[in-house]
């Protein structure tokens, strides 16, 4: 479990100190899927970097607790415990072949050669990228590049994967492909997932959603609870899905009409009325 305790982060600018995040308390259980939403500038990416250990909090702590064990507490080791995948794959691919790119992080760990080869082979297989092993990454599609970026992170064997708007530059087909891959990593390997996103369908796969507004956590709840609260929706820079707005409209006549978040849910609920 990753445990954030009263995490604050501030940066110094020419105009003085700016508080980016303040007093964030979060618990991310192993193997869970969480989403982080919030308006542009609310501190989502900063939070992602704090959770992954790339940034250190100004005050408070980010710690790693083995599940069911409150004794062994360690700090998150950057790049090892929590892998971070960014928005633009072109900014995170460094090598001339897919294989070398994936091996880059491992080389920095000074792992034995055989172990590196084994791990690279494993993640290529896991993500279905074997046929691209010797490919130059820049020749791949956006979705494939993003999978290579994920592969490079996975090779480090993290227990959590954070996607910082990792699909927002992809077309729908590529986006689905990347999301399916991520969900599979969660269900098959038990890797915990944190999705920083503006996209509704990515919020809906999470069991818990953190809503950031002005550097503070405005809500930490299920997607349904978040969308039930108009104040939180507004604070989080979210827009209610059409199906939810339609549900509220139905409630004007059927007061116990459920809050539906997808068209399919809405259709089912409607048909149960008839």
């Amino acid at each position: 479990m990753i445990c954030l305790d009263k995490v604050s982060y501030q940066i110094e600018t020419s105009a003085g100190a700016v508080q980016v995040l303040r007093d964030i308390d979060l618990e991310l259980p192993d193997g869970s899927i969480s989403a982080i939403v919030g308006p542009n500038g609310s501190g989502k990416s900063t939070l992602a970097r704090l959770v992954s250990g790339l940034l250190r909090p100004t005050s408070g702590s980010v710690r790693l607790l083995p599940n069911g064990d409150n004794q062994t507490v360690t700090n998150v080791r950057p790049g090892l415990d929590v892998g971070l995948v960014f928005q633009n794959p072109d900014n995170q691919l460094v090598a001339t072949t897919v294989e070398d790119d994936i091996a880059f992080g491992l080389e920095n760990l000074e792992l034995p050669h055989a172990e590196m080869v084994r791990r690279v082979g494993d993640v290529l297989h896991l993500l279905g990228l074997e046929q691209f092993r010797d490919y130059p990454p820049h020749r791949l599609s956006g979705g494939q590049k993003q999978k290579v970026a994920i592969a490079g992170v996975l090779a480090m064997k993290p227990s959590f994967l954070i996607l910082d708007e990792a699909t927002s530059l992809l077309d729908p087909t590529n986006r689905r492909e990347v999301m399916q891959t991520v969900l599979r990593l969660n269900s098959e390997l038990g890797i915990g997932i944190v999705i920083v996103t503006h996209l509704l369908d990515e919020v809906l796969v999470a069991s818990r959603v953190g809503v950031l507004a002005n550097g503070a956590l405005a809500a930490w709840d299920s997607p349904r609870a978040v969308f039930s609260d108009p104040a939180v929706v507004e604070l989080g820079g979210l827009v209610l899905p059409l199906s939810a707005r339609a549900s509220f409209l139905m409630r004007e006549r059927w007061t116990d009409f459920p809050l539906c978040l997808t068209p399919e849910e809405f259709a089912r609920a409607t048909c149960q009325l008839n």
């Binding site: 600018t13 500038g41 927002s168 077309d171 339609a246 809405f266």
Partner: protein
């Protein structure tokens, strides 16, 4: 006045062994004051197409006509065309260079010889259009903003030049839902009040359904559909074949039909759908 493409081909590495048709036989007509969506999967030629509209690329064959100018590699022609067609690229914030947001947004206006007062006015107006308070943001450095705020500054820097045609390549990728809606709503009001033509390249079908009256669908460098956005999304099979998704209102109408609901809702924009649902609900209530 309009933008017209007549049988345009664009071939990368033409004549070389690896020549590649990025665009093939594209014919298009975009009317003044239209709000047109350009959609299609990655690699379908969307960005190549829009780069033809202000002479960043020149067609291998066929003509691109902006108003009455044929786009060609001549200084005077290009100057005229670029004065009329502005493009907001993908990741526009990668091109920031100025020390303050004011300087960033004013840069294009100054290049076009705006007076000091005109620059001031255009910059302030453009910032308000993208929903950033000019007083607060103009003195800041563009590099200290969040990603979404940077995107809006980049859009403002093009809008400020006051061109007739504004082309935006994925302008809302990475914006929060509220800002997305705000930016597009402002573009729509710019279209209505200043008769600006908006050409929107997007992967987000909900925003295309909401804002674009017409849509151009590209697949492997050819136009597979051009016409009313509604007609396109009603053809679910074509939408799927071109690698796209149905917008939520069309999915909703379809899901209701499939489960045999008596509620018949209108697809299209959010308001259109909700209005029709409201009518259905009150009819049912009266029965």
């Amino acid at each position: 006045m309009s933008i017209e493409l007549n049988n345009v081909d664009y071939i990368y590495d033409s004549g070389e062994p690896f020549e590649y048709f990025a665009l093939r036989g594209i014919s298009l007509h975009i009317d003044d004051g239209a709000f047109v969506g350009v959609v299609g999967r990655t690699g379908s030629g969307k960005s190549t197409l829009v780069e033809h509209l202000n002479g960043l690329l020149f067609s291998t064959r066929g003509d691109v006509v902006v108003d009455s100018d044929i786009v060609r590699n001549e200084r005077a022609v290009l100057a005229r065309i670029r004065r009329r067609v502005g493009i907001v690229f993908q990741y526009p914030e990668d091109q920031f260079f100025a020390e303050t947001i004011f300087e960033e947004v004013a840069f294009g206006c100054r290049n076009y010889g705006f007076s000091k007062e005109q620059v001031e006015e255009s910059v302030h107006k453009a910032m308000s259009t993208v929903g950033l308070d000019p007083e607060r943001f103009l003195p800041l450095s563009p590099f200290q903003l969040s990603g979404g705020e940077q995107r809006r500054v980049a859009i403002a820097s093009v809008i400020a030049m006051g061109q007739k045609y504004i082309v935006l390549d994925e302008p809302t990728a990475g914006l929060d839902s509220g800002s997305k809606l705000a930016v597009l709503t402002e573009l729509e009001s710019l279209r209505q009040t200043a008769n600006v033509t908006v050409i929107l390249v997007s992967h987000n079908m909900d925003e295309v359904a909401e804002f674009c009256k017409e849509v151009v669908v590209l697949d492997e460098g050819t136009v597979t559909f051009q016409g009313s956005t509604d007609a396109f999304f009603r053809d679910a099979e074509l939408v799927d074949r071109t690698g796209l998704e149905l917008p939520e209102s069309y999915r909703l109408a379809r899901a209701l039909k499939e489960c045999g609901s008596t509620l018949a809702v209108n697809e299209g924009s959010t308001d259109r759908m909700l209005d029709s649902l409201r009518l259905c609900v009150s009819d049912l209530g009266g029965a």
